[in-house]
């Protein structure tokens, strides 16, 4: 009875934890299992099947990424000995093969989705070759807009997060190039407004992602999509307030609007990721953005008062206090969320 009580009183279950190859290898490395026992234990876990599931996907993703990179490198080389028609034929053949193979495999299979992703990348390569062959002086943003439009239908039917993120990236580049190449609104002092627009565009994408994931779209539910989009929103929206601070608060409407948007985004994001989504990494990214903007502001104020040793000392201390407070808060939130999950 006493033994049972002792066992129950243990702070962590040890023998009742789910077992994997790593744990068996740990015990073997500690000299508590001999080789025969380890092999038998590993066999009993059916590692080959488990491994094959993982290797099957990894080989597909890594192999496809390498082949696509090879294709992009090849056409970036702009081989002079290869006739333009041959280039078009080659890339269009590859594109059709990928699209047809995706259709044949079916978009419910992972290989079908990856083939459609490959076809979507090849559309971009095709447009780049078009740009190389017919240098009409058109702006590069048009290629990106066209690319986004041409693959939009595939993005919708594929139900594949990687393809959706590719499409979002293409639209982001198109927006930036449009702003840079076609001129920002004149006499409106809104040059930094591009970051606000990008923030809103990606914010809509994030809202769509959250809504979709909450309503049963399993293909959108991977956390990585949320983190990538949220990170990009914070990057875009942090630039205007930093520019506003550095410009002695004399920036244009773009910086001001961006600063307001960042404040709203951080507040809303904090409530959402803390109360609803329960995502500590997203909270951490938000707090990091807040720290950066806050420290820029404090640094600016400190160096306006004095540019001597005291200003550096004070800034160093403020940075320490800020990062410690942020880390303390995140640890605290992380523990609470972890406890909530285990309950």
């Amino acid at each position: 009875m006493r033994d049972a009580k002792q066992f129950l009183a243990k702070p962590r279950d040890t023998l009742d934890q789910p077992v994997d190859e790593g744990l068996i290898q740990d015990i073997y490395a500690a000299g508590l299992l001999d080789a025969a026992a380890r092999d038998a234990a590993l066999n009993s876990l059916h590692p080959s099947h488990h491994w094959w599931r993982w290797a099957n996907r990894t080989l597909l993703f890594v192999g496809t990424a390498l082949v696509l990179a090879g294709v992009i490198f090849f056409f970036a080389h702009n081989w002079a000995r290869m006739h333009t028609v041959s280039k078009f034929c080659l890339i269009e053949t590859a594109l059709w093969i990928c699209a047809a193979a995706a259709w044949r495999r079916g978009l419910d299979t992972i290989s079908g989705k990856v083939l459609l992703l490959s076809a979507s990348v090849l559309v971009g390569v095709l447009l780049a070759i078009y740009g190389q062959a017919y240098q009409t002086g058109a702006d590069a943003y048009e290629n990106y807009v066209l690319w986004a439009l041409l693959i939009l239908l595939w993005v919708i039917v594929a139900r594949f997060a990687a393809l959706w993120i590719l499409w979002l990236t293409v639209t982001n580049v198109a927006l930036i190039l449009f702003w840079v190449q076609v001129d920002a609104p004149v006499d409106f002092d809104f040059y930094f407004g591009i970051f606000l627009l990008l923030g809103i565009w990606n914010g809509l994408a994030l809202a769509g992602r959250e809504f979709g994931a909450a309503h049963g779209l399993a293909w959108l539910a991977g956390d990585w999509t949320r983190h990538v989009i949220w990170f990009s929103i914070l990057c875009y929206l942090s630039i205007p307030p930093i520019a506003l601070i550095v410009d002695d608060f004399e920036g244009g409407h773009g910086e001001l609007a961006g600063a307001v948007a960042l404040a709203i985004t951080l507040g809303g994001g904090h409530i959402y990721f803390r109360r609803i989504a329960g995502d500590v990494l997203s909270l951490g990214l938000g707090i990091l953005a807040l720290c950066i903007v806050l420290l820029t502001l404090i640094g600016k104020v400190l160096f306006e008062i004095s540019d001597g040793a005291m200003a550096f000392l004070a800034l160093g201390l403020v940075v320490l206090v800020t990062s410690s407070a942020a880390a303390f808060y995140l640890r605290h939130v992380s523990r609470i969320m972890s406890d909530d999950r285990s309950d």
Binding site: R12, P18, G22, T64, V67, G284
Partner: protein
């Protein structure tokens, strides 16, 4: 009809089977229980909190060093610089080991960064060979502080700094063949930490630092051929042998390597080693080791490094874009062909259904 959900197998189930099969002594079970109970519970500090702490300490250390410089408190003499370094490092060790709160720990990290800075400055001031002096200083500081400064983040950063200094010395003094010796040492270090002594958790930060610095040092492919005068094939050979050793470790013995998927994995690795760039082998190795150890950090390093390396490889000065395109597409074709072949086998189709 009630549906019975399959519970994951526990360690108790596996040990029970082993005991019943006569492969495990009954007394071994309490020993394993005691061993696992004695293992320190991993601090579940999220990686981004560690990153935040490291960034904060680094920025504040820069501010404090500039403060000392502006206040004219630092004379550029090796003895004075070393005295500052020792003072800051001792203060950092004491503060870290005697306190339990975030702020003093942060301050200790910043003080240690300052100590490192003054130690490097003193060593460079003392020696005519800057890079060699920095490498020696980095390694000595790492060796001394690793046992004294009991903090996984500091240990990781200290090892990474030492490895970075060593690579910088190899580049600046152009002792190129040593890059492969360094690579070999790091690969052995990763193997020891994650495959053979995973019980020594104190060595994990060293292992992670090596896991980051192996792919990072492969960014040297960016150097032009007239600057980087050594061939890359030894790195390929080291990484391919390490990968094959990893397969052996995963399978359990050389005898169990005689299975179709593992033979194919070895052949694909050897084929890739013949023509690919070492960065791809390093990324694949980290992903496989990470999966075998169920270590998300190792897998993350491999997954992040892979696309970054492809982008960096684009700017490789040593070979033309045309050759690079064949290397990339060829490597990918080998992997896809291996997958395609294995997918045709019955056991693979069964396991995927």
């Amino acid at each position: 009809m009630t549906e019975v959900t399959k519970q994951p197998r526990t360690l108790r189930d596996v040990l029970f089977d082993l005991t019943r099969g006569g492969l495990l002594d009954e007394n071994a079970v309490p020993r394993i229980d005691a061993y696992l109970s004695a293992q320190p519970v991993g601090t579940s500090e999220p990686w981004f909190v560690k990153l935040l702490l490291a960034l904060g300490a680094w920025v504040s250390a820069i501010c404090f060093v500039v403060c000392l410089g502006v206040a004219d408190l630092v004379r550029e003499e090796p003895q004075v610089l070393f005295a500052w370094a020792v003072g800051f490092l001792v203060a950092a060790i004491l503060l870290r080991n005697l306190t339990r709160h975030v702020f003093p720990h942060q301050l200790a990290l910043a003080l240690s960064a300052m100590g490192h800075f003054f130690a490097f400055w003193g060593a460079i001031d003392l020696s005519p060979r800057d890079a060699a002096a920095a490498a020696v200083t980095g390694i000595v500081l790492c060796l001394v502080l690793y046992p004294l400064y009991r903090d996984s983040l500091h240990r990781f950063l200290s090892c990474l700094l030492a490895a970075g200094c060593l690579t910088t010395w190899i580049v600046v003094d152009e002792v190129w063949p040593l890059i492969h010796v360094e690579m070999l040492a790091k690969v052995i270090g990763i193997g020891l930490v994650f495959m053979y002594r995973p019980d020594l958790r104190v060595l994990r930060p060293l292992g992670y630092a090596m896991a980051v610095s192996v792919p990072a040092s492969l960014f040297l492919v960016l150097l032009p051929e007239d600057v980087f005068a050594a061939p890359w094939w030894p790195a390929n050979a080291i990484l391919a042998i390490a990968l094959i050793w990893l397969y052996r470790w995963i399978s359990g013995s050389w005898g169990r390597m005689r299975t179709e998927p593992l033979i194919l994995a070895v052949l694909a690795t050897l084929a890739m080693a013949c023509f690919t760039t070492p960065g791809i082998l390093a990324a694949v190795g980290l992903m496989v080791l990470g999966y075998a150890r169920r270590d998300l950090h190792l897998m993350g390093i491999g997954v992040i490094f892979f696309p970054v390396f492809i982008v960096v490889f684009y700017y490789d000065w040593q070979i033309s874009l045309l050759v690079k395109s064949w290397i990339m597409a060829g490597s990918g074709a080998v992997l896809l062909a291996a997958r395609q072949y294995l997918n045709l086998r019955n056991w693979a189709q069964e396991s995927l259904t």
